[in-house]
């Protein structure tokens, strides 16, 4: 298999397979959750579940003051790499083309060198997060193999992407091929690891807010 064939396979069938597995996996996870159902609350409501649910969905993005002091590192490093991932994935023009091909919708992107800088910041934040996970007693106790696998699978696309953009190391086709392959690995693991939080957290926050909202508390 020559490099060209490898790149073609990665951009073609492999991407389709990864997308298929990811979407199928996400839908199955959602159905598995929703099929368990939830008892209707017979108590007399004080507030509205729906309002509480939506409130918490966005409000939980902003940590409360005390948590910010106590878990400052987790929050800051977490936001740095999440925002970084967002910028790198959704505001880099070549990536926007992928979404355009899939969804038919397109939007403006940031200058590529800004995205490149963001990638480096994101990688540094992810490495810091890993060190923290290893050093902090609570995190070390909580973490299992899947946490470290997910970390690796998240940082790989960033590293290979940075290499591809800066044309470091391998030949053009291999750089781009390996980068897309690492993204496909991320896509395949998406529904079956804690990466699923990316979509289930909206459900979780909604339930949290609903339970509290029913009782008139803005959680």
């Amino acid at each position: 298999m020559t490099e060209a064939e490898f790149l073609l396979w990665v951009r073609g069938p492999a991407f389709n397979a990864a997308l298929f597995i990811m979407l199928a996996g996400i839908v199955v996870r959602f159905v598995e959750i929703l099929f368990l159902g939830r008892k209707t609350n017979l108590a007399q409501a004080r507030g509205s579940e729906v309002a509480g649910g939506f409130y918490t969905t966005w409000r939980r993005m902003i940590p409360d003051a005390d948590s910010f002091i106590r878990s400052g590192f987790t929050i800051i490093a977490g936001y740095v790499f999440h925002i970084g991932l967002f910028v790198v994935i959704f505001l880099f023009v070549p990536h926007i083309l992928v979404f355009e091909r899939a969804l038919g919708v397109s939007w403006g992107g940031l200058p590529s060198n800004i995205v490149d800088a963001t990638t480096v910041v994101t990688i540094v934040a992810l490495v810091a997060v890993l060190l923290h996970r290893i050093k902090d007693p609570v995190l070390r106790m909580l973490s299992n193999a899947s946490d470290y696998l997910v970390w690796l699978v998240t940082i790989l696309p960033l590293i290979t992407g940075w290499m591809a953009f800066n044309r470091v190391g391998l030949s053009g086709p291999m750089l781009i091929g390996i980068h897309i392959l690492s993204v496909e690995l991320l896509m395949i693991l998406f529904p079956f690891t804690k990466l699923s939080h990316a979509f289930t957290l909206f459900l979780a926050r909604w339930y949290n807010g609903a339970i509290a909202g029913y009782k008139g508390v803005r959680s």
């Binding site: 073609g12 389709n16 397979a17 199955v28 091909r101 044309r167």
Partner: protein, 362 residues
């Protein structure tokens, strides 16, 4: 022209001054993208270089590569090249034809056995030797025979280097490249469709002066194929600034912005177009506003649309997405209802817990 004369002697016999020879060496160094400091080295070696005999065999090809070499920009180079090398056989350029032509080829091959350079353009049909023949001899046999006595083989054009358009899907003739068939001779691939004229002559001159050039993993001289178009493209600042042309006639295109979104294959294509440029340095595809097709890379005909960007998937991902969601719903329904039933049965199996059921022992 006696065969054993050195290039220097030949030039002097033609009344070419030493100063002209220096000019030729300077422009050749520039052609081979060698630093100017190499000019004296080139002059010294070129002077003593023997004039090798060159056999040019054309198989399944469109004569584009031949067109390209005859368009070689520096006429003075062309004269000297054709004086430097003795092109003993080129069935398009030579006057002789039929048995006389073949006779000339065979005598050249015998006289210079082991020393001549075999230049090939066009791919070789491996499926059936009858697909392409010259004077009744199949390309396959002719190549084998010619390769046997060649000092080295230069595969000019993507067809001879990687199979080119005949090799493209569905490849009816089972076309293969030279390196697929010949394993025991040093082969220099000079891909491109066609390759840049200056690159063809450059490789020949480099071969003449320094022998087998430094090759990359696809057998291409690094002097010309060492860097990708993207790395040397003058529009790279636009790529870095995120300024892209969206259509061929929008503001971006008129302003000469990067053509990535229009399918430019510069990042994955290794060739000298961005520096050597075409038509005597006038321009090259990207400078004329058209995305690079990647013609010096293997299977570029099959690498998806020339106008789809490198980062986009080549197949219909919309379909894959729909199938994925559909399969998810199906599998989800099955798995979900099994789990739902499992929960229902747990609820049914519930035994009321009274204050007497709180201790294990009792």
């Amino acid at each position: 022209m006696k065969k054993d004369q050195t290039l220097g002697e030949t030039l002097r016999r033609q009344g070419v001054s030493r100063r002209s020879f220096l000019k030729f060496c300077a422009t050749t160094a520039s052609l081979m993208a060698l630093p100017p400091s190499m000019i004296p080295v080139i002059a010294a070696t070129l002077e003593k270089a023997r004039r090798p005999s060159v056999i040019w065999l054309s198989f399944q090809e469109c004569t584009g590569c031949t067109e390209s070499i005859t368009r070689s920009s520096s006429a003075s180079i062309e004269d000297l090249i054709f004086n430097a090398i003795s092109l003993d056989y080129h069935h398009t350029l030579q006057a002789a034809s039929g048995s006389a032509a073949e006779q000339a080829r065979e005598t050249a091959m015998q006289e210079n056995h082991g020393k001549y350079i075999l230049v090939v353009d066009g791919s070789i049909p491996a499926a059936n030797n009858g697909y392409s023949t010259i004077a009744g001899i199949s390309n396959f046999d002719m190549l084998k025979e010619a390769a046997e006595g060649a000092a080295a083989i230069v595969a000019v054009g993507s067809c001879s280097s990687f199979g080119g358009i005949p090799h493209a899907n569905p490849n009816p003739t089972g076309a293969v490249s030279v390196s697929d068939l010949i394993k025991d001779k040093p082969i220099v691939n000079v891909p491109g469709c066609p390759p840049i004229p200056a690159v063809i002559t450059g490789v020949l001159v480099q071969f003449l002066t320094f022998g087998l050039p430094d090759l990359d993993h696809l057998g291409r001289p690094k002097a010309f194929y060492g860097q990708s178009i993207h790395d040397r493209c003058y529009r790279r600042p636009f790529y870095d600034k995120g300024l892209f042309a969206d259509t061929f006639d929008d503001e971006g295109a008129r302003k000469g912005w990067c053509l990535y979104k229009l399918g430019c294959k510069g990042p994955t294509t290794y060739n000298a177009c961005a520096t050597e440029k075409w038509n005597d340095g006038t321009s090259f595809p990207i400078q004329s506003g058209h995305p690079c097709l990647g013609c010096s890379e293997p299977d570029f005909w099959d690498a998806g649309s020339f106008y789809r960007s490198l980062s986009t998937p080549t197949e219909n991902i919309g379909k894959a997405a729909v199938y994925g969601i559909g399969a998810g719903l199906l599998a989800g329904a099955v798995v979900g209802s099994v789990q739902r039933a499992r929960k229902q049965s747990a609820v049914k199996a519930h035994q009321r817990v009274t204050i007497d059921d709180l201790d294990k022992e009792s």
